[in-house]
Symmetry: C2
Subunit: 105 residues, 2 copies
């Protein structure tokens, strides 16, 4: 059964959320639980504005949850499938690395 163009778009959008190192780094920061924006900013090497922007994207894609606490905002991974996804991809990359590289020639 093939997906309609509309659904392909939705699938693509979800994958796209994972297609930037900065966003992956943000996700990685939250793997042991929720983190505030400023905690994430401290851990990374980019600006607060950029972190906010990427968090917004991840939130709107349905990957993260968000709650306010005082003046802070705590983000967390909202679906365990995120871990599965990352595991699958990492496993594949490890398999590829393990493969003996075919010599050219």
């Amino acid at each position: 059964m093939k997906l309609a163009p509309n659904d392909l778009e939705r699938v693509a959008t979800l994958f796209r959320a994972f297609s930037e190192p900065t966003r992956l780094a943000i996700i990685q920061e939250m793997k042991d639980g929720e983190k505030s924006v400023s905690e994430i900013v401290e851990a990374l090497t980019t600006t607060q504005a950029n972190v906010s922007k990427q968090l917004r994207l991840l939130y709107e894609t349905g990957i993260l949850t968000r709650r306010k606490e005082g003046t802070s905002v705590l983000y967390a991974i909202g679906d365990p499938m995120v871990f599965e996804l990352c595991r699958l991809v990492c496993d594949k990359l490890n398999r590829d690395l393990a493969k003996p590289k075919r010599l050219k020639f």
Copy 2:
């Protein structure tokens, strides 16, 4: 354990390969086995040049295999993790759709 920037880049690159509807459609065409370039072109609504370009990207990302047969080139999904990935994402989107939409107000 956190991934090094280099590894984040590699993970991102893999996810990026799945982040375009056209490439997902191409992958979908091959879910029951290998397909020639022209078969894929026929099934989609884009040009042969574009299909070739996207196939190249998918091949170089390690997602597809390739073999020549006469004047044709047959591509196939090279790693079953592709199916797992797509299943995970589709399942999530279905779960999200099933959720009662919270009213705004």
